[in-house]
Symmetry: C2
């Protein structure tokens, strides 16, 4: 499996603190040592970092941890390989361009024997995750239009995500730089930080932060992760089938789809 | 304008030495201080680094300089903005997926009033360069097939490149990870290093290297750049309209198209 981390903020914000916690799970406090990647939107541009090695011992991950890259939307993934070799082409997040925007996707879970229908977007690597992403993009391109509102798009996304989640485990983060779509099949949690800001302590490293010193009173910053990253804050745990569309640090629309219990799949 | 750097090698090779020279021109020995980017293929995967700031003073560029990322094909660009703001979305190289491969493109030059015909691939930023890349991809997708040989593809690429070069300045590097297509409209130079290897001295920094200590006798590594990067080696200067398709460090096919003298465009 793997772990996901996303950020939605109303002002360009760095991900250093959360990223430091997550990357420890890539070979130190967790077994997700088969690659890591992160994508930061800057306006409509995206800058990505990917490596097919353990994040906990990566020199480049350390630079990302200590170099405050400011972004309003970011998606990060650490990988424990199940489908597909350990190699760069299989390392999330994946990116494709559609309608003059970069779309970035990361997946936690597995769909065995996913049936990818050849389309415009094709997978470069061997993972089920990238096949699902390409399927999602192909069907979005067919069923949505460039003028759809985020709410209209999320209707289609929820339908697709529900379909995938009925075939296996499908927790995902997807963004086009305007919003961050999050879907929980088995595990996802979020926290929204706003004034008055307080301190926080990472679960995976002996690191604390005082957000008050790092923020202005108007900042709203939400973090979404497969597992809570801090020990002294109260995270909202997503329900099975629950989805939220984030923008500027806030949930702009949300809901829940009915899914059979995961046991029923076995 | 801007500068280009490409590498084609028969074994995974780092770009540290050449990259160190090029990045000095991004704000120190040259005026190309409006962003930099580099893409390294690892198998079918690509890892990219992009920033919309000067490479000469970038902490992340310094990590790329000192961290030996091994690749058989790499494309690098430093930008001096002419068309489009200084921002990440306008920073080369640009990447798109086609036929289960990532295609990476960087451009030196300018085509005023380039007429982009809307197609499948669309530009995210505002540069003429990204419009040309999308146009090239759209027309390649229409006129080539996934089973075409590199030689067949290069026939189509040369035709397109010639057409662009007749409209303005078009020096480019393009790769799909299998080969590196290079086209010279006004300036491009190459050097192929193979045994017996010797030392080399960068033009832009007080850095020398002894390639013999860094290589094996079977290595073949070619560097392609808008301007020679070393002072004590003999670079091959491309002619106007000349193109070369590189793979594994060697030219696998090449030629020259007739172009009017650049003065005739003014």
């Amino acid at each position: 499996m793997c772990e996901l981390l996303g950020m939605s903020a109303n002002t360009p914000t760095d991900l250093c603190f959360s990223f430091s916690g997550l990357t420890r799970r890539g070979g130190e406090t967790g077994p997700h040592a088969d690659g890591w990647g992160v994508a930061f939107y800057e306006g409509k541009g995206v800058r990505s970092f990917h490596e097919s090695c353990a994040s906990a011992s990566s020199e480049i991950a350390q630079v990302v941890e200590t170099h405050p890259i400011k972004s309003e939307t970011a998606i990060c993934h650490i990988r424990q390989a199940n489908v597909g070799n350990v190699c760069l082409a299989n390392t999330h997040p994946f990116t494709r361009e559609m309608w003059c925007r970069y779309w970035v996707f990361a997946h936690n879970g597995q769909i065995n024997n996913f049936s990818y229908q050849p389309g415009l977007y094709q997978p470069v690597g061997e993972t089920d995750s990238e096949q699902i992403f390409c399927d999602l993009m192909n069907r979005l391109r067919q069923n949505a239009t460039t003028t759809d509102t985020p709410e209209q798009l999320s209707g289609i996304l929820v339908e697709l995500a529900g379909e995938y989640a009925r075939q296996g485990v499908f927790n995902c983060l997807l963004s086009n730089g305007e919003w961050l779509f999050t879907f929980c099949s088995t595990k996802l949690a979020s926290i929204t930080r706003r004034a008055p800001f307080g301190p926080a302590q990472l679960k995976d490293a002996d690191v604390t932060i005082d957000f008050e010193a790092e923020t202005t009173p108007n900042d709203v910053v939400s973090i979404i992760a497969t597992e809570p990253l801090t020990t002294d804050e109260s995270w909202d745990i997503y329900q099975r089938g629950e989805w939220k569309l984030w923008s500027g640090g806030e949930v702009i629309t949300s809901g829940q789809v009915q899914l059979p219990e995961p046991e029923a799949k076995k």
